[in-house]
């Protein structure tokens, strides 16, 4: 009888210990999750989707669309300027989108790791549209297709500005003022 009671007590104590350990583990997980950097979402767009959202949009948004690629050195060097510009206009109607022209086959192997490593805060999307000749002119008639290139478009008025080559946050701010 006595022995059975002892075994019962032991079992209960063990159960309590396990439960405590479980809650500690849960807590630790919770703390850890807070520190894990947020997963950066990179959507894959067709040209028609980009056209619908930006080039044909009639919303109140002023879009700053930067065309770049991880393989393009001047583009990568320019990204901090766009990130600074994006941060400056956070929460406003000025929307920065970094449109990557990396190959679809480099999405997992190059683009996602790059976006993570650089901790890019601006929205990044991959434009999966290989037949360049069919759409480059629709972005801007002056664009020959060299990157980097940046299109600024006031969706409401339809006014736009185009930068062929590298830009800066200062230049972007001057250009958006012209069409705001």
């Amino acid at each position: 009888m006595n022995e059975k009671l002892k075994a019962d007590q032991n079992k209960r104590a063990k159960g309590a210990f396990e439960r405590m350990m479980q809650s500690i583990l849960m807590l630790m997980w919770g703390v850890l999750l807070c520190f894990v950097p947020k997963e950066r979402d990179v959507a894959i767009y067709s040209f028609e989707q980009l056209e619908q959202r930006v080039l044909k949009s009639e919303s109140d948004t002023l879009y700053v669309i930067n065309f770049w690629a991880t393989w393009c050195k001047p583009c990568v060097e320019e990204l901090p300027e766009l990130e600074a510009f994006n941060k400056e206009h956070e929460g406003s109607l000025v929307k920065t989108i970094l449109v990557s022209l990396d190959f679809r086959s480099a999405y997992e192997s190059k683009l996602l790791p790059f976006v993570e490593a650089k901790q890019l805060e601006s929205e990044v999307l991959l434009l999966d549209a290989k037949d360049y000749n069919s759409w480059i002119e629709k972005v801007h008639k002056k664009w020959e297709g060299a990157i980097p290139a940046t299109l600024i478009r006031n969706a409401k008025s339809g006014q736009s500005r185009f930068v062929d080559g590298t830009t800066t946050a200062i230049e972007l701010n001057q250009l958006i003022k012209q069409i705001q």
Partner: protein, 200 residues
């Protein structure tokens, strides 16, 4: 007086075009004479047997140029014997892209066994005169009575990533039409590419 005004307007218009830089399809272009990777000067005028040229602004470092290297070799294999040799020109400023120096051009040509002249546009005068905007950027020239005429400006084909998945081989289509004495149907195309690294 009216005539004078007209010619003044025309003069101003053409001055504008010159200032904008670049050639258009249908324009006449003057000779190109630049240093080849063999150390000798290469001049279009001296290629007496050529009926025209496939001029391609390209370089060593640009990933899009690299993707097209084998296809440029294939173009030379196909069209040189038909009288239209490929003439590749690297216009990039070596200060901005050390990989595109004259010495590195020689190295790359040897590695890939380039079968075409690879010229160095050190002053960037030719790229600027043609209005080359990116690498690779093709200009097909045809020798005619009036001189060297621009027949096509644009990309090599419509699929940089995979030669096997090309739907429209722009340069080959244009070349086949030129060889057949026809008008080039698609005489201008655009493509993504690297900016030409102009001197700062």
């Amino acid at each position: 007086m009216k005539k004078m005004m007209m010619s003044l307007v025309l003069l101003l218009c053409s001055a504008n075009l010159i200032m904008a830089g670049g050639v258009k399809v249908g324009d006449k272009v003057s000779n190109i004479k630049l240093k080849n990777i063999d150390g000798k000067m290469y001049s279009l005028e001296e290629q007496k047997s050529a009926k025209g040229f496939i001029v391609i602004f390209t370089c060593n470092h640009c990933p899009f140029s690299v993707k097209y290297e084998d296809r440029i070799i294939a173009l030379q294999n196909k069209y040189e014997k038909l009288g239209y040799p490929v003439v590749a020109i690297n216009p990039n400023d070596v200060k901005r892209v050390p990989e595109d120096s004259f010495e590195e051009m020689i190295v790359r040509a040897r590695e890939k066994q380039f079968n075409f002249p690879y010229l160095y546009d050190e002053t960037q005068a030719v790229a600027s005169r043609f209005g080359a905007a990116r690498t690779p950027h093709v200009f097909i020239l045809n020798k005619e009575k009036s001189g060297l005429m621009v027949k096509y400006i644009g990309a090599i084909d419509d699929n940089v990533e995979s030669a096997k998945e090309v739907n429209s081989a722009y340069v080959e289509n244009a070349m086949d039409e030129i060889l057949a004495g026809k008008v080039v149907t698609q005489s201008a195309t655009k493509a993504i590419g690297c900016t030409i690294k102009w001197k700062e």
